[in-house]
């Protein structure tokens, strides 16, 4: 395209993006609105106190009257979560590659991985603050720790679940282990890794929020929730939760779009349930 216009292709891009994203955005939006209506009616009809459960209208009011603040704190949490997700996923993929190639390594390391996994994150969080200081490091570490497990487990299965016929074919040509990994194991594992990433993305937000509880004074939605809980400002507390939910949904939408692009060959991206 060498046309002099800048706006037209951009608009085309946007509508195309919108059309691609709509199937992911519309259903949750509709469900959300429906839920809010029921919630509002319930609070209204039962005359529930705003110190017990604020109506969605009050939450929306709290959110939009201070939207800059919530966006900023949300961005902080998002940054911690994505950094943790990147580190946790990267480490898990490396470990999974090693463990998929060696049952001995798998037997040696999996119990450790499980031990770390079953240790409650709330028990580790204060320790992490002691070990890593009060900055972003302990938060990212916690987010990473909470995300690695699903990626590790799916990765081990994914790197192993290759078509045995394709493996035989590559071996009959004396393909090196590296070539077999790049040409066969890595692409075969992608559907598994994406499934794990979607779980891990949500977990990374939970990890970031939990970490922010403990590293108080550093901001982020976790700190906001903690603070508003103390002040019993439930409308603002819920506004923070809504912000968190929006971030979570957006992360999943982004992953779903990436998945559709990268895995168009895989049946999981064509199947229409029903």
């Amino acid at each position: 395209m060498t046309g002099p216009t800048g706006a037209a292709p951009l608009r085309v891009e946007w509508t195309r993006w919108g059309r691609a994203a709509a199937p992911y955005l519309l259903p949750p939006l509709i469900a959300l609105v429906l839920g809010a209506v029921i919630w509002e009616a319930w609070v209204e009809l039962n005359d529930v106190s705003e110190f017990v459960l604020p109506p969605p209208s009050a939450v929306a009011q709290a959110l939009f009257s201070d939207i800059g603040f919530f966006a900023q704190e949300g961005l902080r949490t998002f940054a911690v979560a994505t950094a943790g997700l990147a580190i946790g996923t990267g480490a898990a993929i490396l470990l999974a590659i090693l463990m998929a190639h060696s049952t001995t390594l798998e037997r040696a390391l999996l119990p450790i991985a499980i031990t770390v996994k079953v240790t409650p994150i709330v028990a580790l969080a204060p320790l992490f603050v002691i070990w890593f200081g009060f900055n972003w490091e302990p938060k990212v570490a916690i987010a990473a720790l909470i995300t690695y497990f699903p990626v590790l487990i799916n990765g081990i299965v994914g790197f192993r679940d290759v078509d045995p016929g394709a493996l035989d074919f590559l071996r009959s040509l004396r393909a090196s282990p590296r070539e077999i990994f790049l040409r066969l194991r890595w692409p075969s594992a992608l559907p598994y890794l994406f499934a794990a990433l979607k779980i891990a993305a949500t977990l990374s937000l939970i990890g970031a929020v939990v970490a922010e509880f403990f590293a108080a004074g550093q901001g982020g939605l976790g700190a906001v929730i903690d603070e508003e809980n103390r002040l019993v400002r439930l409308d603002r507390l819920f506004a923070a939760v809504v912000t968190l939910a929006v971030i979570g949904v957006l992360m999943n939408v982004a992953l779903a779009l990436a998945e559709r692009r990268l895995l168009s060959w895989h049946r999981s991206t064509w199947a229409t349930p029903g």
Binding site: D168, R171, S172, R183
Partner: protein, 281 residues
Amino acid sequence: MAQPTASPAPPSAPSDAALELSAVRLDYGDVRALDGIDIEVRRGEFVVVVGPSGCGKTSLLRIAAGLLPPSGGSVRVLGGSADAAQAGKRLGLVAQTPALLPWRDVRSNIALPESVNRSAGGPAAAADPEALIRLVGLEGFERARPHKLSGGMQQRVALARALVVDPDLLLMDEPFAALDEITREQMRYELLRVWSQAPGAGATAKTVLFVTHSVTEAVALADRVVVLSPRPGRIAAEMAIDLPRPRRPDDERAPAFLDAVDRVRALLRTAPPEPADRVSS
């Protein structure tokens, strides 16, 4: 490229055998799968091993391809070790499932062998992928992903992928068993056509070791049929198929064809079921 005269044999291999299995034995744990396998496939010969399910056909083929070490006996492939044949990209493998890479389109699947183990087959040894696509009748589908293709078309891709390195030995494991009867019959004669026209085939066609449980398929394809007994697989009999070539689908109704089928069936029936398939001495 295509030499009308016989290609010069490597100096170390004066014999004209493309594949020699002698006294090959295979045990899975304490279960004996193959025993006393002696098979010699001459260059240019089309040999079909026929036997019931579970008699060790896949195992036999994987041993020949150097993918499975035998528990005993010796294997010589193209005058050397199976490893050397692999390293030189001189083998073409086609399995029961097409085993294509689903993220690659047809052209890129056929190009796969060229992209691995580059130290072996230089471009001089390889066949032209475009010519192969035409040879197996896939023009127009070069950009299609495997899941858009029928089972028969997928097997054509697998065949082209095996042929692209211009292999000296084609190893085929029931490649048409998963296809419907009509397609299967058609593919038999496609294979024979490709076999006689494949690049490098020249005057002497490629060497093929083909395993199947279908007697009709065996007779239709083979120069020689090797009959395996049920587990553990042993060679029960061998039979030359002297039907003239080129063979056509209609030939399957000819008395000579039906007679050959009956004789192979009889050999399969008399192949004694081995009472003890445990490894015991």
